[in-house]
C-alpha cells in the first residue's frame, strides 16, 4: 500500500510538489496549517507510481512517499 504523508509543521504550501507530479496525484487544498499555509492533499493515490519526484523537489523536506 502506497502512503503519501505531508508534514503540516514543515510544509509552506509552495505547491511545487503539485506542479511536478506527473500523474496529478496531488492538489492544493483548502487545509490551512498553523502558520497559515495552504497544504497540498492527496487526491488520486491510485495513480501514484512512486516516482518520488515530489519528495526530491520539496524545498522543506515536508513530503514523504513509501519507498518501492
Amino acid at each position: 500500500m502506497i502512503e503519501i504523508v505531508i508534514n503540516s509543521d514543515y510544509c509552506k504550501g509552495c505547491s511545487i510538489c503539485v506542479a511536478f507530479c506527473p500523474r496529478k496525484v496531488l492538489q492544493t487544498s483548502n487545509h490551512i496549517n498553523s502558520k497559515g499555509f495552504m497544504l497540498p492533499e492527496v487526491v488520486n493515490l491510485d495513480a501514484c507510481t512512486q516516482c518520488m519526484l515530489c519528495e526530491i523537489v520539496c524545498p522543506d523536506l515536508a513530503i514523504a512517499v513509501t519507498g518501492k
Partner: protein
C-alpha cells in the same frame, strides 16, 4: 510516521528547541538545492568505503548559505559573507581527506567573494561549490547582484540595472575549475547527477543552479520554475538559441592543490631522512 528520507541528515531539534521548519521563504529554490544535494550525498555515502563523517559543509552568508547554519547533521561551518571558499581551503589544508561542499549564492560567490572564487578554482583545491543563483540579494531585500540581467529593476536599481551580468560558469572555467556545470531547480535528476560528479571529482568543481526567488520576483514558485525550464536549453542545442545553456560545460581533471603539496612534503621528508 513516514518521514522524508533526507531528514536523517537534518537536526530537526536540539536541546535548545526546534530547528525546523527551515527559515527559507515558501517555494525557495535554496531548499530544493539542499534536497538535491542531500540526495547526491546520500548516494555517495551508500557506496562502500565512504564515511558520513568525511563530509564537511561550509557556507558564507546569504539565503543559500543559511542551509548550513544549524540544520545539518554533518560537520559544518556557517562563515563570513563571501569567505566560504577560504575557510573551505583551510579545512583541506588541515585535513585533505575531507570532502568539502560549499553552499554559496551569486552575491556571496561573485561579488564579495569574487576574488576567493577565482583563486579557489585556480588552485583546483578539492572542493565542490554549489552556487544557488537567483540573480539577486534575497536576504537583504532583493537588491541587484552581479548576476542580475541588464535593465532589471530592483530596490537599488529603481531605473533599471546598467551593468552586464556575470556568467559564473565561464568565470569558473577560465579560472581553472576542473568540473563545471549549470542546471536549474527545474532539473532535479540532472542536478543530483552533477553534484555527485562534482563531489567525485578530485579538484575544484563548480555547479551553478539557477533558482527562483518567488518573494522578490513577486511570482509563484511554480510559475518561476516553469519559467526557468522555458528560458534554458541543453548545451548541445544552444548554438543558435538565445536561451541560457544548461548542462556540463567543462570536465578536465588536473592535479589538485593538496596532491601537489603532498609531493613537496615527500621531498622534504626524503631530504631529511
Amino acid at each position: 510516521m513516514l518521514k522524508h528520507p533526507m531528514l536523517k541528515y537534518i537536526r530537526e531539534e536540539g536541546p535548545a528547541g526546534k530547528r525546523l521548519p527551515f527559515i527559507l521563504c515558501p517555494g525557495c529554490g535554496a531548499g530544493q538545492v539542499l534536497n538535491y544535494t542531500l540526495h547526491a550525498v546520500d548516494e555517495i555515502i551508500n557506496q562502500p568505503g565512504v564515511k558520513k563523517e568525511d563530509f564537511v559543509f561550509i557556507s558564507g552568508i546569504g539565503c543559500s548559505s543559511r542551509l548550513t547554519s544549524h540544520y545539518l547533521n554533518f560537520d559544518s561551518g556557517w562563515t563570513l559573507h563571501g569567505r566560504a571558499l577560504p575557510v573551505a581551503t583551510g579545512v583541506l589544508l588541515a585535513n585533505p581527506k575531507l570532502k568539502v561542499i560549499v553552499f554559496t549564492g551569486d552575491g556571496d560567490a561573485a561579488a564579495i567573494g569574487g576574488n576567493h572564487f577565482i583563486h579557489a578554482f585556480r588552485r583546483n583545491i578539492n572542493i565542490t561549490v554549489i552556487c544557488v543563483n537567483n540573480g539577486l540579494y534575497g536576504m537583504t531585500g532583493g537588491q541587484v547582484a552581479p548576476t542580475t540581467q541588464p535593465f532589471t529593476i530592483t530596490p537599488t536599481t529603481p531605473y533599471g540595472n546598467v551593468e552586464e551580468a556575470f556568467d559564473l560558469c565561464k568565470l569558473a572555467t577560465v579560472a581553472g575549475a576542473s568540473y563545471v556545470s549549470r542546471w536549474t531547480t527545474a532539473h532535479p535528476f540532472q542536478t543530483i547527477k552533477a553534484i555527485k560528479k562534482g563531489i567525485a571529482n578530485k579538484g575544484a568543481s563548480f555547479i551553478e543552479i539557477l533558482s527562483q526567488c518567488p518573494v522578490h520576483e513577486h511570482k509563484t514558485p511554480v510559475e518561476m520554475i516553469n519559467a526557468l525550464k522555458g528560458m534554458t536549453v541543453s548545451i548541445d542545442k544552444s548554438m543558435n538559441s538565445n536561451k541560457i545553456p544548461v548542462g556540463e560545460f567543462h570536465f578536465a581533471p588536473r592535479p589538485e592543490w593538496t596532491e601537489r603539496y603532498e609531493a613537496i612534503i615527500e621531498k622534504c621528508n626524503e631530504r631529511i631522512s
